[in-house]
C-alpha cells in the first residue's frame, strides 16, 4: 500500500507549537508511508492541488492529512482525493490542531503527539475499504416548527419555492413574540402592520398546512424521510365550526384567567381569542380556569355560541406528517422575575417586564395603548428602564447578552415620550449594544432628541416608597450612588431558551448548549444547519436574535431546504453497518439494540437466519458492532479492525 502524509502548518496555528518538518521526516518512516510532506495551508487551493499531484506523481492509494479537526475539513479533503481518482474513503485525518497544537505548549511533546496521531491515522487508512454511496428518494415536504416571524418566513419561502409546508405552532395563534410587539426598532414601524400581512399569507397559502395549538410528539426517520407525529391539543372548541365571533369570550363568567398572550398584564376570560388579529381566529378554552371543566358547572359559552362549536369532550388528536426536512424555529422565552429578588422578584405591581410594557404600549393591548401603571391605573411620569435584568449575570446562570434589549429599551423610551410628552425616562445600562444598521443612531436619538437619561451602572435594589418606586443604583461614570424615584420600572428581563426546548431537541436528535439554545453545525460557516442531516435552525431558538436576524435565518434555512430538495434522490452515507453472512450466527442481538430498527432478519437459502441491514435506515452509530459477539456486523469505516489497529498503534508499539 502507498500512503501519502500531508502535514499542515495552518500558518502558525500548528507550526507554532509543532515541529512540522520533523513530523514529516518521522512519519515518512512509518510502514506503508511512501511520501510525507508539510505545507503552509493544506486546505487552500494550491494545498489541495499539491495532494492531487502527489497522488498522481507518487502513485498514492491512501492519503492522510494531519491538520485541523475532521469535523472541519474531512469533507473538503475527501473531495480532493476523489478528484484525484481515489475512493473518497481512502482518506483519514489526524487532528493536530484542536487536539495538539492549540492545547499543548511543549513543542517536543506536541511534535511527538502529532507523529503518533499520524501513525494512528496511517494504521486506520490502510484498513479503509472503498465505499460507495447509494441513493434514495426524497420526500419534498418540509416541516416548520414554530410560527413566529422566523418560522413564518421559512414557511413562506419554502412554499414560494414550490414545496409543501407543514407548519406547527404551539400557541392557539401564529405570530410569536413579534405579534405582541407594538413598534419595531430602529424604524418605529408598527409591528403587527408588517407582520399581519405575512400571517395572512401563511394562513392563505395553498402550499402551507397549519397546525396551530399543536406540538411535536415524536419524530422518526432520517433526512429525506421523516415521520412526524403531531399532537393537536384540544381547544374544547370545534375549530371547523368556530367563526371567531367572540360571543363566548364576552359571556364567559371567569374573568380572572391568566392571559398568556399579554403576559398577564390584565386578566382574560377562560375562553378567549388571544388578540384581534389572531390567525387562526378561533376560540380556545384554558382548561385550568374553565368552570365547566374544573367543576362541571357553567357551560355558558356552549349556550351562547351561535355555531354550536363548544365541545367539552374534545380530546387531543394525533396526526402523522411525512416530510423530508425540518426547520426548527421554536423561539425563545424570558426569565422569571422571581429570579431577581433585589428588583422585587415580581412582588411590586409597578415593576414590570419589557414585554409587559410592550403590551401596555400596544393599541390592541389591554389598555388600548394608554400607558397606565398596574397598581393604580394612573399615567406614570417617571419611568426607569433596567437593562441586563438577568442577562450577563453569572450568579443566576445567564452569562450571555440577550442581544435585543438595548434596542427595545431605546424604542420603548422613545415611545413613552410620544405617549406622555411630559414624562421622563431613565435607562440604567451596562453597555449600549447597538451594532446593527441604524441602531447606534437610534439609541443616540433616544438620548439627544427624546431626552432619555442614560445612567451607566447597575441597579442594586428597587423598593416602594409611598406611591413611588425607588430605584437605587450606581452611576459608574460619576462614581456615585444614585436613587431615582419612578412611577413605573421596566425590567429588560433576560431571554432564555423556550420552555421545552431541551425536550424538543431530544426528539430531533440535535444538540443544545447549557442554556438550552440549539447548537448550529458551525458557528460561522454553517449557522442554520445542525449536525443532524435534514434539520435546520432559524431564529432565536439558536440564540437570542432580533427581527431582521430571525427573518434572515428563516430565509437562509428555507434556502438550505430548497437546495436539499433540488435533487430527487439523496446520496446515503456509506459508512453504515454491513453483515458478514458467513460469520453471522443469527442471534439478532444487533436487531434488538439498533436504535433505528435498521436491522431485520433474513433467511438464506438452506434455512440459515442472518441479520440484514436496511441501508437507508442505518444511521451509522455502530451500536450493533459492539453488540455482536462474533464481529459479524461491522460498521464500515469504523470497523473493529480499524479501531484495534489504532489501539495497537498506541499501546503495543
Amino acid at each position: 500500500m502507498r500512503v501519502g502524509v500531508f502535514i499542515c502548518h495552518c500558518g502558525n496555528n500548528i507550526a507554532g507549537t509543532v515541529d512540522v518538518a520533523r513530523a514529516a521526516e518521522e512519519t515518512a518512516k512509518l510502514p506503508h508511508v511512501v511520501y510525507s510532506t508539510h505545507y503552509m495551508y493544506t486546505c487552500s487551493e494550491p494545498g489541495q492541488d499539491e495532494i492531487k499531484q502527489a497522488i498522481k506523481r507518487e502513485n498514492l492509494d491512501r492519503v492522510v492529512v494531519a491538520a485541523c479537526s475532521p469535523r472541519m475539513h474531512e469533507l473538503t479533503f475527501r473531495r480532493t482525493v476523489e478528484k484525484a481518482g481515489l475512493n473518497r474513503y481512502f482518506f483519514e485525518m489526524a487532528n493536530i490542531r484542536e487536539h495538539v497544537s492549540w492545547i499543548g505548549e511543549d513543542k517536543d511533546l506536541n511534535t511527538n503527539k502529532a507523529i503518533e496521531a499520524v501513525r494512528m491515522a496511517v494504521e486506520k487508512v490502510v484498513r479503509d475499504k472503498p465505499l460507495y454511496s447509494s441513493s434514495f428518494k426524497v420526500n419534498k415536504r418540509v416541516l416548520v416548527i414554530g410560527a413566529g416571524v422566523a418560522g413564518m418566513q421559512s414557511a413562506l419561502d419554502c412554499a414560494e419555492g414550490g414545496l409543501d409546508v407543514v407548519l406547527v405552532e404551539k400557541s392557539p395563534a401564529i405570530g410569536g413574540m413579534m405579534a405582541r410587539l407594538d413598534k419595531t426598532f430602529p424604524t418605529i414601524d408598527c409591528s403587527i402592520c408588517i407582520l399581519g400581512p405575512k400571517m395572512v399569507d401563511v394562513a392563505q397559502h395553498e402550499k402551507i398546512s397549519l397546525h396551530a395549538y399543536s406540538e411535536i410528539e415524536e419524530i422518526k426517520g432520517y433526512v429525506g424521510n421523516y415521520q412526524v407525529k403531531v399532537r393537536k391539543k384540544t381547544p374544547y372548541v370545534d375549530w371547523a365550526k368556530c367563526t371567531g365571533c367572540g360571543e363566548c369570550m364576552e359571556k364567559c363568567p371567569t374573568k380572572n384567567a391568566y392571559d398568556r398572550f399579554n403576559f398577564g398584564v390584565a386578566p382574560t376570560r377562560a375562553i378567549n381569542i388571544p388578540f384581534p388579529q389572531a390567525i387562526p381566529k378561533k376560540a380556545t378554552i384554558d382548561a385550568k380556569f374553565c368552570r365547566q371543566i374544573q367543576k362541571g358547572k357553567c357551560g355558558v359559552c356552549a349556550k351562547v355560541c351561535p355555531a354550536k362549536a363548544i365541545n367539552f369532550e374534545l380530546q387531543d388528536q394525533f396526526v402523522t406528517e411525512e416530510v423530508g426536512a425540518i426547520i426548527v424555529a421554536s423561539g425563545y422565552g424570558l426569565i422569571d422575575q422571581e429570579l431577581l429578588p433585589e428588583y422585587g422578584g415580581g412582588r411590586y405591581p409597578d415593576v414590570i417586564t419589557g414585554i409587559q410594557y410592550e403590551r401596555l404600549l400596544n393599541a390592541s393591548g389591554p389598555t388600548s395603548g394608554h400607558i397606565l401603571r398596574p397598581s393604580d391605573k394612573t399615567e406614570p411620569k417617571s419611568i426607569v428602564f433596567v437593562s441586563c435584568a438577568g442577562s450577563r449575570d453569572k450568579s443566576i446562570g445567564i452569562p450571555y447578552c440577550s442581544n435585543f434589549c438595548c434596542m427595545y429599551i431605546a424604542k420603548q423610551a422613545i415611545l413613552t415620550k410620544d405617549h406622555i410628552p411630559d414624562s421622563q425616562s431613565f435607562v440604567f445600562y451596562m453597555d449600549i449594544r447597538a451594532p446593527g444598521k441604524g441602531y447606534d443612531e437610534f439609541t443616540r436619538r433616544a438620548q439627544e432628541d427624546y431626552g432619555v437619561k442614560y445612567i451607566r451602572g447597575r441597579v442594586s435594589r428597587i423598593y416602594p416608597k409611598g406611591k413611588k418606586m425607588i430605584v437605587q443604583g450606581a452611576d459608574t461614570l460619576l462614581g456615585a450612588k444614585v436613587e431615582v424615584e419612578a412611577d413605573l420600572v421596566v425590567l429588560a428581563t433576560a431571554a432564555t431558551a423556550a420552555p421545552g426546548a431541551a425536550a424538543l431537541a431530544e426528539k430531533l436528535h440535535i444538540s443544545y448548549d447549557t442554556h438550552g439554545f440549539y447548537v448550529e453545525s458551525h458557528p460561522k460557516l454553517r449557522p442554520v444547519e445542525t449536525n443532524t442531516a435534514g434539520v435546520y435552525l432559524a431564529g432565536a431558538a439558536q440564540g437570542p436574535k432580533d427581527i431582521p436576524s430571525s427573518v434572515g435565518q428563516g430565509s437562509a434555512a428555507a434556502a438550505k431546504v430548497l437546495a436539499l430538495f433540488s435533487r430527487d434522490m439523496l446520496e446515503s452515507d456509506p459508512a453504515i453497518a454491513r453483515v458478514n453472512q458467513n460469520a453471522c450466527v443469527g442471534c439478532l442481538k444487533c436487531a434488538k439494540t439498533c436504535p433505528f430498527q435498521a436491522i431485520k432478519d433474513e433467511v438464506l437459502r438452506g434455512g440459515k437466519v442472518v441479520a440484514n441491514v436496511i441501508e437507508t435506515v442505518c444511521a451509522g452509530c455502530g451500536v450493533c458492532t459492539s453488540t455482536c459477539p462474533c464481529g459479524a456486523i461491522q460498521l464500515q469505516h469504523f470497523t473493529d479492525n480499524q479501531l484495534l489497529a489504532e489501539v495497537n498503534s498506541l499501546c503495543l508499539s
Binding site: H99, I103, E105, D106, A505, E506, N531, G622, F638, L652
Partner: protein, 150 residues
Amino acid sequence: MSVVEGKELRIVGFLCNWCSYGGADTAGVSRFKQPTDLRIIRVPCSGRVDPLFVVKALISGADGVLVSGCHPRDCHYSDGNFYARRRLEMLKRFLPFVGIDARRFHYTWVSASEGQRWQQTVTDFTSLIHELGPAPLLPQNKTLPKEARA
C-alpha cells in the same frame, strides 16, 4: 511504548464524534491548555465502544483509558450512549476483580459546547493517572508464583 519517557503516560481516549470529539475541538479552539498524554480515537458514538476495546488497551499497555460520549438523552443516535452506560459500568465494576485498578478507566459525558468541562476532565484524569503511575505490565514469562488453590 512511544510515550516520552518520564513526561507522559499512555492514555487512550475514545470520543464520540458528535459531542465529546466536538467538545475537545471546542476546548482546542478556545485554547484551553491540557496535558499532552491523551491520544484520541474518534468513534461515531459511545455506543460503538465495545468494552473489549478498553480491555484491549489496558492489557496492551495503556496506563489509562477514557471514554466520553454525549450526555444521556442527547445522543446523536438517540440511544447509543444508554447502551454504552450499561456496558461501561459493567466493565468498570469487573476490572478490579482481575486486578486492574478501576480508576485507570473513566467514562463520562461531555457535550460539543463543553470545552471547559473537557479541559477539566483531561486535566484531572491525566493527573490521576500520573499519581497512579505506569500500569503494571503483564508478566510475559512462565515463572509465575503459583498460588495454592483453596
